[in-house]
């Protein structure tokens, strides 16, 4: 049986993660979502950090927060793009920062998209589910 495509969500804000999971669930997307709470946990899961074991995750897309404890999103991006197995994985930065310098730096480090976290109480997290649909269903991925 084919596994569903994997979306790796890296965010230390458990409120945001909870809303994201609910929205993706309600959107009826055929996707498996795994979450990691900071850059170090994400790099471990991708086998880009010492001490990793088991099979490395190979997500279809990574949704990555920027400001996180220990290893931040910029460092994750830098390491992802340096390693051959993860170089082509699309990375969507999701951040509450609208600072032009954060946007510029993210793209310089190899982000494929930059989304500012939105507050839409009528449909909490719908913006993120919409982005997930695009990257999982519409975007063509390198095999």
């Amino acid at each position: 049986m084919n596994r569903q495509p994997l979306l790796l969500l890296v965010d230390d804000n458990s409120d945001d993660v909870s809303i994201a999971l609910r929205a993706i669930g309600r959107a009826g997307l055929l996707v498996e979502v795994q979450t990691r709470r900071n850059g170090r946990e994400a790099l471990e899961a991708l086998h880009l950090y010492d001490g990793a074991d088991g099979e490395p995750l190979r997500p279809r897309v990574i949704f990555l927060d920027l400001r996180m404890p220990q290893v931040d999103g910029f460092e994750v991006l830098r390491r992802l793009r340096r390693a051959a197995p993860t170089r082509d994985i699309p990375v969507v930065v999701i951040s509450s920062s609208q600072r032009p310098e954060d946007v510029r730096r993210s793209y310089e480090l190899g982000a494929n998209s930059y989304l500012v976290k939105r507050i839409d109480p009528r449909e909490p997290g719908a913006w993120l589910a919409e982005a997930a649909r695009y990257w999982i269903q519409l975007n063509q991925h390198p095999e």
Binding site: I119, P121, E123
Partner: protein, 282 residues
């Protein structure tokens, strides 16, 4: 930065700022009394000026942290309110639903205030890139973008507005705020009219935006340009009360000023005067 950290930083900044002002006043008083000390005072003044500039930068940072870092927890509260309403609303009685609506209104109003603060922080931090600005085109475009879809608001421009040398982005923001303000305070009028004009004096261009809205008591004109000051209740006219503070900030950054004239129920006029510099002049 956590909310507690932000408050602590603000208090520390305010104390530092007050101390620097006090020292600057003392130094200035000293330098007028004793000319032989003038050289030393100039040096001291240079240090104080640097200190004030550093603090201004720091205030900008704090300002932007407050508006940015507080947004996230308030946004989370609003999100979970929606989840509560959608997933568990059926278990609440009418009283419970009314309380939820009140909590939502409060959180939304906090968010509006933060958005106002963020707008103010943005115009304070943006690097000035002065060039010749076609104010006439800018005002017409800003009005087209701000015009409400659900009622008639007419714009009259008295003669083509003269161009000015300034930062195009900051001026666009200022005129957008002035027009949005005029549109908002004519909300009760079935057919509202906004007039924009300008007069040129020796070294200034003064632009004015007049509306036929509710107006205000001219005694409070100065208060209007302070952030979060309001002369009408939020229920009557929603918004953060930051728009005119943004206009004032833009005026000050250009070396100009903003003021208002009005009478209750007879509309209001907001004036933005800017130095009439030549392009390329400092």
């Amino acid at each position: 930065m956590t909310p507690v950290g932000i408050v602590a930083a603000l208090v520390a900044f305010a104390l530092g700022f007050a101390a620097a002002r006090w020292r600057a006043q003392r130094t200035r008083a000293g330098s007028t009394r004793a000319d032989p000390d003038r050289e030393r005072s100039d040096g001291e003044l240079a240090v104080l000026r640097r200190e004030l500039e550093d603090m201004r930068g720091e205030l900008g940072e704090i300002h932007s942290s407050v508006s940015h870092d507080l947004r996230s927890p308030i946004g989370a509260a609003l999100n979970f309110l929606s989840v509560l309403e959608e997933d568990h609303g059926a278990q609440l009685d009418a009283d419970g639903r009314m309380i939820l609506a009140r909590v939502r209104r409060s959180a939304e109003s906090a968010l509006t205030l933060l958005d106002g603060l963020a707008r103010l922080a943005r115009v304070g931090r943006k690097a000035m890139e002065p060039r010749r600005v076609d104010v006439d085109a800018l005002v017409r475009a800003a009005f087209a973008a701000a015009r409400p879809a659900d009622r008639a608001v007419e714009l009259t421009v008295v003669e083509p507005l003269p161009p000015v040398v300034g930062d195009p982005e900051l001026l666009r923001i200022a005129f957008t705020e002035l027009l949005a303000n005029a549109i908002q305070f004519t909300a009760g009028r079935e057919k509202a009219s906004i007039t924009v004009g300008a007069r040129r004096e020796d070294d200034t261009v003064e632009y004015w935006v007049a509306d036929d809205g509710v107006g205000f008591d001219a005694r409070f004109a100065g208060k209007l340009f302070r952030v979060f000051e309001r002369l009408h209740s939020r229920e009557e006219f929603p918004g953060a009360g930051a728009g005119l503070a943004v206009v004032r900030r833009v005026a000050e950054r250009h070396g100009g000023r903003a003021r208002a004239e009005a009478e209750p129920e007879r509309g209001a006029t907001f004036l933005l005067s800017l130095p009439a510099r030549k392009e390329g002049a400092p």
